[in-house]
Symmetry: C2
Subunit: 256 residues, 2 copies
């Protein structure tokens, strides 16, 4: 199915290939040094940006479809995608006839398909954005990171999807460990705290934060310090991978 | 759309009325005195039980469809349904030709519709089960509560849906207040703790639990005690409705 060229994709072929009325959209958060960005793509000539998204093949499992869409539209593989919500209000704000009017060679068959009512299944992931070079797909002229507080005009309800995904990510911090793959292998407590503060969008009490992390045994102190100039040389830590994986599996109970 | 009788519902009419390939299933948890039950329905002659479920009308918002399904199939209104996950693996285990073979007057048109591949959007709710009298729908001969640890044979992947819904409910305890409508208007701390312990499936430290609740200002102590015989007369509490609603809206941050 993946080998078809854009030109042969007519309405009948779309109908035959994909489940109608259902799409997938991926909110990819990128973290780097106290910044959160979101990956967006842009169809040449369209009136706004979109989350990387696509459809589910007739005989394709939902999670598999999500991974393939992400890979095909961004070049990213093996990101751990989490499903967070299905959006199904009546007017999701996509008006392809207007919003895609400027797209060169826009196929009327595609317009017919896109003009259907779609429910979209939202997925999100969190990655280190300096490690990723997004690659635009066949349909896009641009695919790039945007600061979460400086998003460009978005089509459909994709701004709502980003907002909801961020809310779910913030909740996730309270019952699942994060940080692995987002921080250097050896990191300081202030670096770890900055990650949490950036995602939560607020300052945390340093003493409580450290106490919590230590009591969870998710990280271990190394016998090394990081030289950051001046008189301060904060201790370096690394994740206790065994406890971290156990916590991922069982959840971290943060209260009671 | 709701006024059609079962007899006039052929495949063409189903196709015309509902979005294809997408269903909704509702996991209704009932709590009462240290027990959690789940509401299940049974189509006369079918080989197993199902969660109350149904389909989305072409021009019906997703959340509205979920509420109407719940009302139509159980008689329950104004339960706060929460969407928890969309299930879309390839083989969801429904085999209508076999599992519904014993259903009297089973319409081949319905079989054709049910034999399609369906993704299902899962919703859950938590209610006080002694207050609810389930009413079987037109299609069902039975609709009743089952102990969560004593479920009857279930069709499709509905056992998985219940398991996932319970996991989400357990997580919800960590960032949202619960208890209102589940406990009497005036309740004791042991009653409140029993609710949490029943849902979490484990004992909680009584001192920590009380400390947490008091620090959140979700409940207030009344100047009354409950007489339970012997020498013990535990204090009665009630919810601080204003703080409770605020916490529902903003979430309760239980850590950091």
């Amino acid at each position: 199915m993946e080998k078809k060229s854009a030109k042969t994709t007519g309405a009948a072929l779309l109908e035959q290939t994909y489940l109608p009325h259902i799409s997938i959209d991926c909110v990819i958060f990128g973290y780097h040094e106290k910044q959160i960005k979101v990956l967006l793509s842009h169809v040449k000539g369209a009136l706004g940006w979109l989350l990387p998204g696509g459809f589910i093949e007739m005989e394709q499992a939902l999670d598999e479809a999500a991974s393939k869409i992400l890979e095909g539209r961004t070049g990213l593989t093996s990101l751990f995608l989490k499903q967070f919500k299905t959006f199904g209000s009546l007017n999701r704000g996509l008006d392809p006839a207007t919003q895609f009017a400027g797209v060169p060679d826009f196929n009327p068959a595609n317009l017919q398909w896109l003009s259907k009512r779609f429910l979209t299944i939202g997925y999100y992931a969190l990655t280190e954005f300096s490690k990723v070079t997004p690659k635009p797909s066949l349909f896009d002229d641009k695919c790039q990171w945007f600061e979460i507080n400086g998003l460009p005009p978005l089509l459909s309800d994709h701004e709502l999807l980003i907002k909801e995904a961020l809310r779910k990510l913030q909740l996730q911090l309270h019952h699942e460990p994060i940080g692995y793959n987002l921080l250097p292998e050896k990191f300081t407590l202030p670096e770890m705290q900055a990650l949490y503060e950036t995602i939560l969008g607020k300052k945390l009490d340093q003493r409580n934060f450290t106490k919590k992390l230590v009591s969870l045994n998710l990280i271990k102190k190394l016998g090394e310090k990081k030289y950051i100039g001046g008189h301060r040389s904060p201790s370096l830590y690394k994740f206790n991978k065994r406890n971290y994986n156990k916590a991922l599996l069982n959840g971290v109970i943060l209260a009671f």
